[in-house]
């Protein structure tokens, strides 16, 4: 028990008076700013890569056949949902994703895709801390097995998760 001249809360009173703020080292803000700039650059490169690959595919298809790539005879559409994955290596990542899309088109599959921005606005019941959905591709394949094989070869599957969902069409 404290002595009468040392009330129980003297320590608490003293602690409440310590400075609540300290100046952080300058290098922290610099490192975070650089990281932010890299993320912005990676997002830009991704959009450019996907757009460029789609334009190239459309141009090729338009020259050789019809305005749009001919769908496979028994093709079904699948959504490739890209979850998680690291944010490092933005330029290489975007280039790899673009190359995958071009390669898939060469195999006669219609492919489109978009990268999703970080912003997410929740309506309805909120999920408990899901892995971030980074982007998606819409791919045409003849079967679920073929779609899964395509997904396994997607560069995002190296460090992220690609979930394949058949698109339900009437």
């Amino acid at each position: 028990m404290p002595a009468p001249h040392e009330p129980e809360d003297d320590v608490a009173v003293a602690l409440r008076r310590v400075p609540r703020e300290m100046t952080p080292p300058l290098h922290v803000a610099s490192a975070l700013s650089r990281s932010l700039a890299r993320r912005r650059a990676a997002a830009t490169v991704w959009r450019i890569a996907v757009a460029a690959s789609m334009v190239m595919a459309a141009f090729t298809a338009g020259r050789l056949t019809a305005p749009r790539p001919a769908p496979l005879a028994s093709g079904q559409k699948f959504a490739f949902l890209l979850y998680g994955g690291g944010s490092a290596g933005g330029d290489d990542r975007a280039a790899a994703y673009g190359a995958w899309a071009v390669d898939a088109r060469r195999g006669g599959r219609a492919v489109s895709g978009e990268r999703l921005a970080d912003a997410a606005f929740v309506a309805g019941v909120e999920l408990s801390d899901p892995a971030p959905l980074r982007g998606f591709f819409i791919v045409q394949a003849t079967s679920s097995a073929e779609a899964l094989e395509l997904a396994r070869r997607h560069p995002h599957a190296r460090d992220g998760t690609v979930i394949v969902r058949p698109i339900d069409t009437p």
């Binding site: 404290p2 040392e6 003297d10 320590v11 608490a12 009173v13 003293a14 602690l15 409440r16 008076r17 310590v18 400075p19 609540r20 703020e21 300290m22 100046t23 952080p24 080292p25 290098h27 922290v28 803000a29 490192a31 975070l32 700013s33 990281s35 932010l36 700039a37 993320r39 912005r40 970080d118 912003a119 997410a120 606005f121 929740v122 971030p132």
Partner: protein, 176 residues
């Protein structure tokens, strides 16, 4: 009139620019760093790492901030978690040995509160810092550290006792 936290947040989510980030950072990093510094026992390099990691984790989630608490409290939650992980184990471990925390054998009467805090075992230090410096409630501390409210209360009392034994009360009273 300075912009509110909501306005700063909205600006950053809208453009993700360095300028809007630094406006947010400048407002809250000082408090986040002070918390990290004290939780890490005054090790400034570890505190800086924890601060950087906390912002790295918070930035992608800023759009999920729903305003249930103050933005600073929400950001400081990341700091606490990062500090916990840097200890490679629980930041809080119950300490039952009442002899722990005897005043150091020193004649230095100028020992200040931060130095005394740094010598506390991490379990005491976390609760004393969160409750008495940062103003968290026992319920909030229990949630942050994954312990019972009752444990938080009892360890706070013991932590204050250990801190008291480390402080030179004559010097402290002069400062008060």
């Amino acid at each position: 009139m300075p912009p509110t936290d909501s306005e700063l947040l909205e600006a950053f989510v809208g453009d993700r620019s360095e300028r809007s980030f630094l406006a947010l950072y400048d407002r809250h990093a000082g408090a986040m760093y002070a918390l990290a510094y004290r939780l890490m026992g005054g090790r400034d390099a570890d505190a800086a790492d924890a601060l950087q990691e906390a912002w790295t984790r918070a930035l992608p989630r800023l759009t999920q901030f729903r305003g249930d608490s103050a933005l600073r409290t929400w950001l400081c939650g990341f700091v606490v978690n990062c500090c916990r992980e840097r200890f490679r184990g629980p930041l809080f471990e119950p300490i039952l040995d009442l002899d722990v925390g005897e005043r150091p054998h020193s004649t230095d009467h100028t020992i200040d509160i931060d130095r005394a805090l740094a010598t506390l075992p991490p379990g005491y230090r976390a609760i004393v810092v969160l409750h008495d410096v940062e103003g968290y409630t026992h319920r909030e501390i229990a949630t942050l550290l994954g312990i019972d409210e009752g444990t938080s209360k009892s360890q706070l009392s013991r932590g204050r006792g250990a801190l008291r034994r480390r402080l030179d009360w004559r010097a402290l009273k002069v400062r008060l």
